[in-house]
């Protein structure tokens, strides 16, 4: 009976495994063990770096929205992301951008890049031809506690509270610059998979109002105003982050 022999061999192998793990097992020579250091101690040995991840949405075949003057969203977001990177560098803040050229970058790769960088803040830059001012969006996921392992599809849920704080910081800075802001929750890929405080910043044209004059989203002075306000908010976020 071959199956009986197989079961017998498996039983012996299992018994040998149990014996190796038991205190009765002979002390075999082992490779030098890596000293186990609690995670907080390991972090304190090298202070974490304040890093901002800037994701210029769309690119390549994915053109995004088409603005009134024919400019494509993918080009606009790339320009704004580049300008934001320079402004943040000038303020002494390290930046990682997900793309520097007109390339196809799937949402999965964007989330991977952001998660690999372990940023203290992640911004996704979008632009639209409708609405007015700047629209700030955070993930529509419900907030959950931070756990050791985060499911890929809902990794952002552990950071929703921090994302809302970051959104509030940017909202204050934009309001200070007298730019109309609207806040909302949205389900846009890859936001839900990013393990970092994350806000989508969507620039819309500035509709003429009581305080503001009308400006298209392609207006360089309007873009500079928004970029400066976002950079100021991130500087404030850095000081809050260091205190924490």
């Amino acid at each position: 009976m071959r199956w009986i022999e197989t079961a017998f061999a498996l039983g012996i192998a299992a018994a040998a495994g149990i014996l190796q793990q038991s205190p009765l097992a002979p002390q075999l020579p082992q490779a030098p063990a890596v000293p186990s250091v609690p995670a907080p101690l390991m972090q304190s040995a090298q202070p974490p770096r304040f890093l901002v991840v800037v994701d210029a949405a769309h690119g390549g075949n994915d053109t995004g929205a088409r603005m009134g003057d024919g400019v494509l969203e993918k080009d606009l977001t790339l320009g704004i992301a580049g300008r934001l990177r320079s402004t943040l560098h000038a303020r002494g803040i390290d930046v990682v951008v997900t793309r520097t050229g007109d390339v196809n970058l799937p949402p999965l790769n964007r989330a991977e890049a952001a998660n690999h960088a372990q940023g203290a803040a992640c911004l996704v830059i979008h632009a639209t031809a409708t609405g007015s001012g700047v629209h700030l969006f955070t993930s529509s996921l419900a907030a959950t506690g931070n756990t050791r392992f985060l499911p890929w599809q809902t990794a952002q849920s552990a950071y929703v509270t921090q994302s809302l704080k970051l959104e509030s910081e940017i909202d204050s800075a934009l309001a200070h610059a007298e730019i109309p802001v609207s806040l909302g929750r949205a389900s846009v890929q890859p936001m839900d998979s990013v393990a970092c405080p994350e806000v989508a910043v969507e620039m819309a044209p500035l509709v003429a109002g009581h305080v503001t004059g009308g400006k298209p989203v392609t207006d360089p002075s309007y873009q500079k105003q928004v970029v400066d306000a976002v950079a100021a908010a991130l500087e404030q976020w850095r000081s809050d982050w260091r205190q924490e």
Binding site: H58, A129, S140, G184, R185, S187
Partner: protein, 214 residues
């Protein structure tokens, strides 16, 4: 060496497998026929709308300028069939998008190919009730006319969910298709791969909150 009993057992199980496969194929065909019959009857139900008495409905009309939804009461004739009712209500909402003074302009004649309802499996309904999931099948024309952007796309979805939930409270979840097929986004931004909770609509924070705009 395989014993005779094992051989009989094997053939008996094979027979059962073949029988089950045939049964499943038959069930699938019957379900397909039923869905096609419903699809054929829908236009007739909508055509009957003109003869029925007007009923009050609440539409949540979006405003791109302040990112808000505003409740608008309207009386419209509704068909008896629930699927057709949902379709008529959503088409009326799309008519509001088309008006010259619309703050959420989408210029499309007909945006809803179909609406149908599925029971929410127990334990998956976040509201704790025996809700229903509405599947809204957009026409390709709507997605082409939809302005691209997180805000305009999200407002379209939120206004449809809020309108459906207000008029058919049993709807607790909403899923979107385009021309009968799953699609990644509405017009490049809003995620259509997930199922939304109908109660997500009041999450628009500025302007008139959907929940308060009665």
């Amino acid at each position: 060496m395989i014993s005779r009993a094992q051989k009989y057992l094997f053939f008996a199980m094979l027979l059962v497998c073949v029988g089950m496969a045939a049964f499943l194929i038959r069930l699938r065909n019957r379900a397909q026929d039923r869905l096609q019959a419903q699809g054929r009857s829908a236009p007739a139900d909508i055509a009957d709308t003109a003869r029925s008495a007007p009923k009050p409905v609440t539409l949540y009309v979006p405003n791109d300028l302040d990112d808000s939804l505003t409740a608008v009461e309207k009386s419209i004739p509704l068909p008896e069939d629930r699927n057709a009712q949902a379709r008529v209500i959503l088409e009326t909402l799309i008519e509001a998008y088309r008006t010259p003074d619309s703050r959420h302009p989408i210029n499309v004649a007909s945006g809803i190919a179909d609406v149908y309802f599925l029971p929410v499996p127990s334990g998956k309904d976040a509201t704790g009730g025996n809700g229903q999931m509405a599947v809204i099948d957009f026409s390709g024309a709507l997605t082409q006319a939809q302005p691209s952007g997180i805000e305009p796309e999200t407002l379209t979805l939120l206004s449809m969910m809020a309108t459906l939930h207000a008029n058919l409270p049993a709807v607790t979840q909403v899923h979107f298709l385009v021309d009968g097929q799953p699609r990644e986004t509405l017009a490049g931004h809003a995620d259509l791969t997930r199922t939304y909770l109908a109660s997500e609509s009041p999450q628009v924070q500025s302007g008139t909150p959907a929940g308060a705009a009665q």
